[in-house]
């Protein structure tokens, strides 16, 4: 009996260049091109006080928003309620400060806890019932929208809290340049930036090196295989969604700091950017792989586009058009990338 032989040739050597490097270099190039373009068309773009400093504040907010979505994209899920989770957390922060007289740190912690709880609730519903994350978070978004208005009118009689922790005013207006050691002053970097940077570092560390992050990614890659490999998938789902809620809360905090008040409109414009940043940066929609560096670049690129077009006096609603087109293009690229990844990764 002749044996069917397995091909004796050694398995093919995979591409030396990591598959994910390419989109990021493309983003950097695009970023540089756009900055040059905007600066040429509007020299005010390079004005630190007028443009660059507020731009950094915006990037900080929307980077964290993107990280919030990235946390559940890791599972192949979505969080359609990022905006409202941010708003509800902002409300909690305002409440704790206004009614209990808490300072910055305590308010922030209270808000983060609120966000994490909301996220965990979503994750719990999703993991226990098996209902699509889109539907669960969409319904939650709707319910929270109602809840937020009720809460604000009930507690403040309006749409915003009248006061904020004193420290937040410095967060709003100060940059490191306002703090000097002797003659040496810091750079014109807003105080909110370290929050975003820290968040990015921690999330990056989580998914790159921690056991928890790896198990979440594996759950996203193949929930069945993950369950059968001993990963507590239900718990990981709850944890990833809780992280998403926590980051949404942080984004809400940063936005409130930038705007000067805890108001009901926090998070209104979070949904689209929350997808743009990670997707532009190479995070797959189907789960199993994330790129925090990519999200950073994606958020930067998005805000640069907004800022630049704004300076060129495009109306906000017209901006929508171009952002939508950018998203479509980014998603088509994502699709192409995914098809490539699959072709390399599987055999019949």
């Amino acid at each position: 009996m002749t044996a069917q032989t397995e091909t004796a040739a050694p398995p093919r050597t995979p591409h030396r260049i990591p598959l994910w490097a390419n989109p990021r270099i493309g983003l950097v190039v695009l970023l540089v091109v756009l900055v040059v373009l905007f600066s040429v068309l509007r020299p005010a773009f390079l004005n630190t006080r007028l443009t660059l400093t507020p731009l950094q504040s915006d990037i900080s907010v929307y980077l964290v928003v993107g990280l919030a979505q990235l946390s559940v994209l890791s599972l192949g899920h979505m969080n359609m309620a990022v905006g409202r989770m941010a708003a509800t957390s902002a409300f909690t922060m305002g409440l704790v400060h206004d009614k209990l007289g808490a300072g910055l740190v305590l308010s922030l912690l209270a808000g983060l806890a609120a966000g994490a709880l909301l996220g965990a609730l979503a994750g719990l519903i999703i993991s226990r019932t098996g209902v699509n994350s889109f539907v669960v978070t969409l319904a939650m978004d709707f319910a929270l929208a109602g809840l937020i208005t009720i809460l604000y009118t009930g507690v403040t009689g309006g749409v915003a809290f009248p006061t904020m922790p004193a420290a937040m005013t410095s967060l709003r207006f100060d940059t490191f340049a306002d703090y000097c050691l002797g003659d040496v002053c810091g750079p014109r970097v807003p105080l909110v930036v370290p929050f975003a940077v820290l968040a990015a570092l921690l999330v990056g560390l989580l998914f790159r090196y921690s056991r928890l992050g790896r198990e979440i990614l594996m759950t996203g890659a193949s929930p069945r295989a993950a369950e059968l490999s001993g990963i507590p998938t239900k718990t990981r789902i709850v944890q990833a969604h809780a992280l998403s809620g926590l980051l949404a809360a942080l984004a809400g905090f940063l936005l409130a700091a930038n705007n000067g008040a805890f108001s009901a409109s926090v998070g209104d414009s979070f949904l689209l950017p929350s997808f743009l940043a990670p997707v532009l940066g190479g995070t797959l929609l189907v789960g199993g792989a994330v790129s925090v560096l990519g999200a950073v670049l994606g958020a930067t690129l998005t805000q640069v586009i907004y800022k630049g077009l704004n300076l060129l006096q495009f109306q906000l609603d017209e901006l929508q058009l171009y952002i939508g087109l950018v998203l479509l293009a980014a998603l088509s690229l994502d699709r192409a990338r995914h098809v490539l990844a699959q072709r390399r990764g599987s055999r019949p």
């Binding site: 397995e6 050597t13 056991r211 198990e215 490999s229 990764g345």
Partner: protein
């Protein structure tokens, strides 16, 4: 009429078909037999246009056929009824039967013509079914008949039935075979792809046996063979007489894993078995006997309704694979490695380390290097051929993938392993290497529960063999590794079981 000549089909790393031939004549029932991995499903896929052959050809009445896809095969008159239902549950019987060609009158559905056509096809089969019944209301057996009617509506001259009785009761199977005989009598060629020898002998006229991708008997009249001879053809005597290095099992040692009268929500009834450290217990049964489901029940993935599971003498109520792994050092190498055993797009190193991150982690963080070192250790130990541990698992050949699937449990230092169909879809040479691997694990002291529907594999490897049929253990045998004797005993046990159930009687 329809012939397949020396079909060859290769996938990366494995030759699924290496000279398979088949001849079908109108007005006959033809059985296609072969072990798991022999190439039956690949052959069916070639005949139904899902794949294109890499060699050989398919001809009909002398004309060579080229299928661009399943629809082409349909047009050539080849109809197929798969194991899974392919019906639209929301639609009626009539709508499903004519789905390929919904009769229309200026865009509006012509219900009268639809019902008439459905009735015509059902009458050909002498099946009584109201064409307006919603398919969702039908039983599996009735759904199957609708699919056959659908194939007739497509003017199929050849009907391929893939494991048709897998989910049918004895009575339903009988009814199906009556229909099959009607099809034969009206001039159709019916191909029965099956594992169940009793049924084959009951209803088929001719048989083709596939082994290792080729036809070892082709369109031979069934009357020329006994069941035993067919089994011989399917497995190849030479292979069955392989013996592995001698192992001794400590008979006095308490069982590492023991099931006492375990019943499950799926219908298992009072299953008892025990595996000692260093022992291989073969759990043999035909496809559908309920063995994988039993394993999943032990792991907490299905509900246990009675009896106890004991690990190292202590009762264990396992609620998840994680609990089985971390608390009891019990691992499960799944049957479906592509969907359940591996993360195809993730690197091999992650696939292997996934069960041991807890151990590898320092302060919650896992270093890539420790992961890779671990992967390389096990790659060497198991002989996994990889270019680098960073390679995605999906790029490996079937045999190497299976080794990766096994490696993660070894890395976790499990001392009890349930191995489910480890060599399905793997070629013979790698199979032999696997068997040595598994025997080696037992020699190292692991307790192994080997679930297999590969009889020679079971006889080669197991120290004892438990035979499962229809969700129950029907017998347990000590294995003397004599293939002739063991296979006869086992077949008799299964045979007796189906006869007690009032199953298919020889025609």
């Amino acid at each position: 009429m329809l012939t397949a000549e020396n079909l060859v089909k290769t996938f990366p790393g494995v030759r699924a078909l290496d000279g398979a031939s088949l001849t079908l004549h109108p007005g006959s029932v033809h059985a296609l037999l072969g072990e798991n991995g022999a190439g039956k499903s690949t052959l069916v896929k070639l005949l139904t246009g899902v794949y294109r052959p890499d060699g050989g050809r398919i001809t009909q009445d002398g004309q060579e056929l080229h299928f661009g896809g399943p629809l082409d095969a349909q047009r050539a008159g080849i109809g197929v009824v798969h194991q899974e239902r392919n019906l639209i549950p929301a639609f009626t019987v009539a709508e499903n039967i004519v789905l390929h060609h919904l009769p229309s009158r200026a865009g509006w559905l012509d219900r009268r013509r639809m019902r008439a056509e459905a009735r015509r096809c059902l009458e050909l089969l002498e099946v009584e079914l109201d064409p307006d019944t919603p398919v969702a209301r039908l039983s599996v057996a009735q759904g199957q008949l609708v699919e056959i009617a659908k194939a007739l509506s497509l003017d199929s001259t050849v009907l391929l039935l893939d494991e048709p009785t897998a989910s049918l009761t004895g009575d339903e199977a009988d009814r199906l075979f009556t229909v099959v005989r009607r099809l034969r009598d009206s001039g159709h060629a019916v191909v029965l792809v099956s594992h169940k020898l009793e049924e084959v002998f009951a209803v088929a006229d001719t048989v083709t046996v596939l082994r290792d991708g080729r036809s070892v008997a082709e369109a031979a009249p069934l009357a020329d063979f006994t069941q035993g001879q067919i089994v011989d053809l399917m497995v190849g005597r030479a292979f069955a007489s392989v013996r592995l290095a001698e192992r001794t099992v400590d008979e006095q040692a308490p069982p590492a894993l023991q099931l006492k009268d375990v019943s499950t929500a799926l219908g298992h009834r009072e299953v008892s078995l025990a595996v000692r450290p260093g022992e291989i217990l073969g759990l043999y049964g035909l496809v559908g006997a309920g063995r994988s489901e039993l394993a999943k029940a032990v792991l907490g993935l299905e509900r246990i309704t009675g009896g106890t599971v004991e690990v190292h003498g202590r009762p264990a109520r396992i609620r998840s694979v994680g609990e089985a792994l971390h608390r009891h050092r019990l691992g499960y190498v799944t049957e479906d490695r592509k969907n359940e055993g591996l993360f195809l797009e993730q690197p091999v190193s992650r696939n292997i380390a996934v069960t041991v991150w807890r151990r590898l982690a320092r302060a919650g963080l896992v270093s890539d290097r420790r992961e890779r070192d671990l992967a390389e250790t096990y790659a060497q130990r198991l002989g996994i051929r990889i270019a680098t541990p960073r390679q995605p698992a999906g790029e490996l050949s079937g045999g190497n993938q299976q080794k990766v699937s096994l490696a993660k449990w070894l890395a976790a230092e499990c001392d009890i392993l349930i191995v489910d169909e480890p060599t399905v879809g793997i070629d013979v040479r790698t199979k032999a290497a696997f068997h040595e691997l598994i025997a080696g694990l037992a020699a190292d002291g692991l307790a192994l529960l080997l679930i297999s529907s590969d009889l020679p594999e079971t006889v080669v490897l197991a120290d004892r063999i438990a035979v499962m049929s229809d969700l129950r253990i029907v017998g347990e045998l000590d294995n003397d590794h004599d293939y002739q004797r063991m296979s006869q005993q086992i077949i008799r046990l299964i045979h007796a079981e189906t006869h007690v159930e009032g199953g298919v009687s020889a025609a």
